[in-house]
Each structure stands twice: as structure tokens, then as C-alpha cells.
């Protein structure tokens, strides 16, 4: 079982291979770790550890804010673009479009950092890719 308190202190202030600094905060009411990065001021990743896996979820935008007529095309693009994104996938959860990754709970710390770094790096490009639907 992953110790979230330990993981938070390992992540907070950690410098990634790409030179970004991670900031981590434990949200005790949801038992998740909120991760931000110096590489992108807007990217927010929620990390959750369970018995089997570690999940990292980045909220992108609300579905209800997208014109209904544009949604079929949006959904198709979400599906087409998702496989292309390294280490993460795109999905709809409740009213939100999210980017998420998952790995074994037994994975090493460096892999968690890589996932966070990659997801942060992907964030702007993915969001920019759907700009026409949001603006």
C-alpha cells in the first residue's frame, strides 16, 4: 500500500529529467495528491493510489461548456487523439474531459515522476488541440 505522505514529500520540490520542479500537496478530504509543475502554470494533476494502481488525472475542460452541436466532432477527435498521447489517455468522467494515466502500485518512484512530467508536458498541446471547441 503506497504511503501518500511519503510520496508527497518525495514529489514536492523534486526536479524532473526535463528540468521542471514538481509541487505536491496532500488533499486529505479526497485522499489524493495535487501535483503542479514549474513547466506549466495551469496544469493540475490529481494522483491517487489504490491497492492495485496509481492513477494520475488532469482535468481539461467541462463538457457542458461545449456547444452541443460541436460535441459529436469533439468526441471523435478525443478518440482519435487519445492513442497518440504518450503515457496518457483522454476520457470523459461526469461532466469533465480528462487526461489520465495509470500504472502499477508497485512501480518505482522515477516512473511516477516520468508520468507526471509527461502529462504536464502534454497538457498545453492537448488543450490547444481542442481550442476551437472551447473558445
Amino acid at each position: 500500500m503506497t504511503n501518500l505522505t511519503t510520496l508527497v514529500s518525495q514529489l514536492h520540490g523534486h526536479e524532473t529529467k526535463t528540468g521542471a520542479t514538481l509541487f505536491a500537496e496532500l488533499l486529505s478530504d479526497t485522499d489524493t495528491i495535487k501535483v503542479t509543475s514549474s513547466a506549466d502554470e495551469d496544469s493540475v494533476i490529481f494522483l491517487l493510489a489504490t491497492d492495485e494502481q496509481i492513477l494520475t488525472v488532469t482535468p481539461l475542460f467541462k463538457l457542458s461548456d461545449i456547444d452541443e452541436q460541436k460535441r459529436p466532432k469533439l468526441f471523435e477527435e478525443l478518440l482519435r487523439i487519445s492513442p497518440v498521447i504518450p503515457l496518457s489517455s483522454l476520457a470523459i468522467q461526469d461532466d469533465g474531459v480528462i487526461m489520465y494515466g495509470s500504472m502499477s502500485v508497485n512501480t518505482i518512484f522515477e516512473n511516477i515522476v516520468d508520468e507526471l512530467d509527461t502529462q504536464t508536458d502534454n497538457y498545453s498541446e492537448v488543450l490547444a488541440g481542442f481550442a476551437e471547441y472551447i473558445n
Binding site: T30, P59, K62, D94, L127
Partner: protein, 225 residues
Amino acid sequence: MGIFSSIITAIKGGVSEVGEGIVDANAIRILEQEIREADTGIQKATVSLTELKAKEIGLSKELANLNADIDDYMSKAKGALSQGNEGLAREIAEKIAELTATKEETESQQQELDAHVNKIHGVIKTRKKQIEKNRLELKKAKNYEDLQATRKAVAQSMPTNDSSAKRVNRALERVKSKQAEADNQMSADKWLDDLETGADLDNKINEAGLGKSNTSVDDILASLK
């Protein structure tokens, strides 16, 4: 319906509210309990199987010994007969008969036990496969529950449209700036490459019009006239 199928059906049915449990928490607990009990049952069955197998092996060895003894007495009986000692041969033959009766009984027990062991082994194998299927089913159910745990945190932080538009613009700027950096880097790399190969100097010579003259067809014809 399997848990995974019921999750898919429920999602298609539009179940989406935070906190709504598609998967019956009780169903998961029961499945976990069943797997634990099945695991314990398999462990006990395996121990019993090993004990039975040990007995079967014991009987096989006994059988081998009986066969060896019977063979031995047979050759002794032949020996007694060749000596003309029919009385001894008869005694030995009685012994052989006794041993043969024991052998037949032992063989019957050994075969019955062997069949029993194989049957139990088959049942254990089948149960193990079922347990693994149940474990996979449980994994699917728990995966869904795990994802639900992120919903609250994500829902609380999901940006509104106003802020989405601003974030998107910032994202577009970042992408542009990344691309510009990449382009600048490529130019810098090319400059360094040219410098190292001397191509930089060749370029300067050519630009000054001092490069190799390109003799045209007209020039050649003119020189021949």
C-alpha cells in the same frame, strides 16, 4: 451479468452522478470473501491431495516389492522342481499364491487411489481457474471504484468555461513559444554544423560571387568560334 458488463450497461444508461455506486459494494465484498474461502479450500485440498498421493506412491512401491518377491519365489519353485523336491516346490507355490492374492488386492487399491488422486487434481485445477476468473472480475470492479475516488477531487477543480478560454489561450501561447524555441534551436544547430564543416566559409565565398565559375553552353560555343 458479470460486474464489468453491468458497469458498462450502467454507464450507457447515463449513470454519472458523483457518489452513485454502479457496483454494489456488497457484491464486491461477497466476491472477495468467496475468493478468500476458495483460496483456503484449495490450500486444504492440495494438502489432502499430497497426502493421498503419498499413500498411492506407498502402494506402488509395495506392489513393486510384491512383484519382485513373486518373481523370486517363482525361480526358487523352479529350482526346487529341478531338484525333484516337489514338496518344497508345493510349499513355495502356496507362498506364491498368497503373495499373488495380496498383490491383486494392493493393485486394486492402488488403481482406485490413483484414479481418485487424478480426479481431485482435476477439480483443483478447475477451481483454481475459476478463482483466477473471479479475481479478474474483482479487479475490474475495483478499477471502476478506484476511478470514482478521483471524481470528487477532479469535479471540484474542473474549470468553468471562462477560465477554460483563458487557459486555452495561455496554452496556445505556450505551444507557439515551444515551437519558436525549437525553430531557434534548429537554426543554432545548423549554424554550429556549418561552422564545423567549413560550409559557413563556402557560403560567404559564394555570396561574394567568388565561387566556382559556371561555364555556360554559350561561353563554350563562343570560344569555339
